[in-house]
């Protein structure tokens, strides 16, 4: 089994920045990521993207080149196409790459697995033709595919970005149906002083909205009662806005209402998590460097709480400095000297967050879905069935799972977890922290029995990949 000073899971901005920083400090670093190329969500495929695609995706996207180039020139062992499916104390990571399972061991681990889109369960969201805005963006970044006749619905800055990218690609969306209300915006104004410190982000957002207006994309705000209509596939998005019912015929519905930390890896090894009411999700409990309550285990990037790509990159560097210091490669004063400008930059970048969180809250209708709406897609469990388990005396998601099988399918609760906790806590009156979350167990992603059976042999040798 290959041994490293530091293993990093996830090659997004956080993971890449941490890897390069730690490598420079003299640590032997392995960087594992399931994608074929580095970049993570925002910089997906950036090292290969054509000039035309970069024009469509925008200047922020091109920024990723700096990181991927630095990574390529470093001594970091980047094991790409590697799905990490187990982490054990010690630390030992099990992963599958090229259909073969293998392991690496490392004295320290940084989890930089980023964010997942918050599921948006509304009537009809499981029909073919419905996907998330992020998925549409992945198609665009990875393969240059843009959905036709699409409506974007939900809330959050990413919707504007995806819409603008579609406009630039020559296939504008039919409409933007936004669920945040004027009330949310007014409530967010008290965070305006902070937001003004992060004026660059604000200006970028306003720029996107202008770009959409110029392209003639229709916008609805304060939308409610979202519902996808169709028999075998999505045919229309129905909603209520401005006191009127609307129906927009379309081929594709792209849903999105924010992203939430991907906490699977951290939870599977027992890191403590707390409910964040500002972000309406669980976040890991961390110190200022990203250290968890387990020695040698750090988290950086959106997996630590949603704060965007710039903060992810900074947090990656900070964690790497602390890890290098702990490994004896860096003195404490040198660590702090290098950390000081990073901490200032992070504070600046974070200034706009409270405003964004308040202005673009998740769609309330999806946090309290109707009884008939499917929550767990894998096992086809409805919101009503989850409520029923609470009425029958069930206290938390792990018990609801035994009652209904919610969370027992191929995704193992990645998509229904937050919704199930929310519904149970609304029904029982307990807080989300008291209600708890699914117990996450390996494999984090399914692995075939043949891979598992063959692991002993491959695990002993060096991992494939370079």
């Amino acid at each position: 089994m290959a041994e490293f000073d530091l293993a990093i899971i996830g090659a997004g901005p956080a993971g890449m920045a941490a890897a390069v920083t730690a490598d420079k400090a003299g640590l032997r670093v392995a960087l594992l990521d399931e994608q074929p190329r580095p970049g993570g969500q925002i910089y997906r495929n950036v090292s290969q993207a054509s000039a035309d695609r970069v024009r469509v995706l925008g200047a922020d996207y091109a920024l990723g080149r700096g990181l991927t180039t630095a990574l390529a020139e470093s001594g970091v062992q980047h094991i790409h196409g590697a799905v990490v499916w187990a982490i054990e104390d010690g630390f030992r990571l099990s992963y599958t790459a090229n259909g073969t399972a293998a392991q690496v061991s490392a004295r320290r681990v940084l989890i930089a697995t980023g964010a997942l889109e918050r599921p948006l369960p509304i009537p009809g969201w499981t029909l073919p033709g419905v996907m998330t805005a992020g998925a549409a963006q992945i198609l665009l970044k990875g393969s240059g595919i843009v959905p036709r006749q699409a409506v974007l619905a939900g809330s959050g800055p990413l919707i504007y970005l995806v819409a603008a990218q579609m406009v630039r690609a020559g296939v504008p969306p039919l409409a933007l149906v936004e669920t945040q209300s004027t009330r949310d915006m007014i409530g967010a104004l008290r965070h305006m002083p902070g937001a003004l410190r992060g004026w660059r982000g604000l200006a970028k957002g306003l720029g996107l909205i202008r770009e959409l207006r110029r392209a003639g994309v229709k916008r609805f705000t304060g939308a409610d009662r979202l519902k996808v209509e169709g028999m075998d596939r999505a045919e229309a998005l129905c909603f209520r806005a401005g006191g009127e019912d609307h129906r927009i015929a379309c081929e594709t519905v792209l849903l999105h209402h924010g992203v939430v930390p991907n906490t699977q890896v951290a939870r599977s090894i027992g890191v403590s998590h707390r409910w964040s009411s500002a972000q309406q999700t669980f976040t890991p409990v961390l110190d200022a460097w990203g250290g968890t309550d387990r020695p040698g285990l750090f988290i950086a990037g959106d997996g630590a709480g949603i704060s965007g790509a710039m903060v992810a990159e900074i947090a990656g560097r900070l964690a790497a400095l602390k890890l290098a210091e702990e490994a004896g490669h860096l003195g404490i004063s040198e660590r702090d000297r290098r950390a000081a400008p990073l901490l200032r930059a992070r504070a600046r970048e974070l200034a706009i967050r409270p405003f964004l969180d308040a202005a673009y809250p998740p769609y309330p209708g999806a946090l309290r879905p109707d009884d008939d709406t499917l929550i767990c897609r894998c096992e086809e469990v409805t919101a009503g069935e989850i409520r029923q388990t609470a009425t029958l005396g069930c206290l938390g998601p792990n018990q609801a799972k035994s009652f209904t099988r919610a969370g027992m399918g191929p995704c193992q609760g990645r998509y229904c977890g937050l919704t199930v906790t929310a519904i149970l806590s609304q029904t029982t009156g307990q807080s989300p922290d008291e209600t708890g979350y699914y117990r996450i167990r390996p494999p984090l992603k399914p692995v075939t029995l043949a891979e598992l059976a063959a692991m002993a042999e491959t695990g002993a040798t060096n991992p494939e990949g370079e």
Binding site: Q388, L395, Q399, S402, P442, A450, A453
Partner: protein
Amino acid sequence: MRRYSAFAIAREAARYHQGWERAWASPEPKKSYDAIIVGAGGHGLATAFYLGKNFGITNVAVIEKGWLGGGNTGRNTTIIRSNYLQDASAAIYEKARGLYETMSQDLNYNVMFSPRGVIMLAQTHHEVRGYQRTAHANALQGVKTEFISPARVKEIVPIINLDGPRYPVLGGLWQARGGTARHDAVAWGYARACSDMGMDIIQKTEVTGVRKENGAVVGVETSRGFIGTKKLGIVVAGHSGVLADMAGFRLPIESVALQALVSEPIKPCMDCVVMANTVHGYMSQSDKGEMVIGGGADGYNNYTQRGSFHHIEETVRALVETFPMISRLKQLRQWGGIVDMTGDRSPILSKTPVEGVFINCGWGTGGFKAIPGSGWGFAELMARGYSPLTAEFGLNRFKEGRFIDESVAAGVAH
């Protein structure tokens, strides 16, 4: 409590299942009870149930630190069989198997007992001799099992590969009325029946101490205060050592981790339970279609640094040889439980040095199958001070050298 019936289902179907009432109450603890059971796993709940049903003792509380059925009862691979070697074991496991046959009716709760048959594969010559011996012993005990040929094994399990290079199949010990049941439902069914008899099932409450006066128990300290009782049944599986420590005695028990895993669901392909004891692989197909696979217990002194996946890997490597078709199946989840093992691999159902305190533990890797029999016998022991079912399983056997040795013939996980 309203009975579950075909009419009830029809009635509820007509009103979108809105009318089902809570299956059990979540009461506030009273000041004291005639008997307290610690641990709302299958064994604890079954004990409470038979205290009420067979002995009319219903002023009973079952105290559980998590939620009922959330311990090993909710994570085992649910194999039910009674093909043990020693007479005392065969008696209690066969009693349990018999009670499983009618449990759904007795509890008015569908526990999905499925007597689909259990095969233990003989894959070495040593195992062939061992299982033939067990079959003979079972014949004398009145437990129906038979030793079958490889050809018959293939008839029952068409997907099996008989002549694997490392682990050929040389025969099998077949118990046609063994099988599986739905683990959660067993706990829920007992809980509902206990609640119906007026017993209190107190969840999310941890027992933190045992209060004694003059060598006899007077109650328990809990996270919700003191609760009095003169009869205390400790039924906490992996935590037995901790509770014994609170009461002031010691147990000859070691705790080890036992694991299981489940694959993605596929069409029905195997309608019985197959146990490959040499390689510690135990497989059945769930109603949903997943292959449920149990592994072996972790070794006691594991310095290999390979950690928990080591065992699963070995199990799967061997099983893939015996069942080549499963190799492309995806594993969805793997989990484990801490099980309580005794030196002779038999349970402890016993009085203790503390008057009024009784202990039921040591079921190790295979106690799910015993739940109703254990509850029956342990309730009798608590109510009357003696039960023929539990007589041989006392703590004293370790001092007196009267082991009920199941470690050779049935040192089998699950």
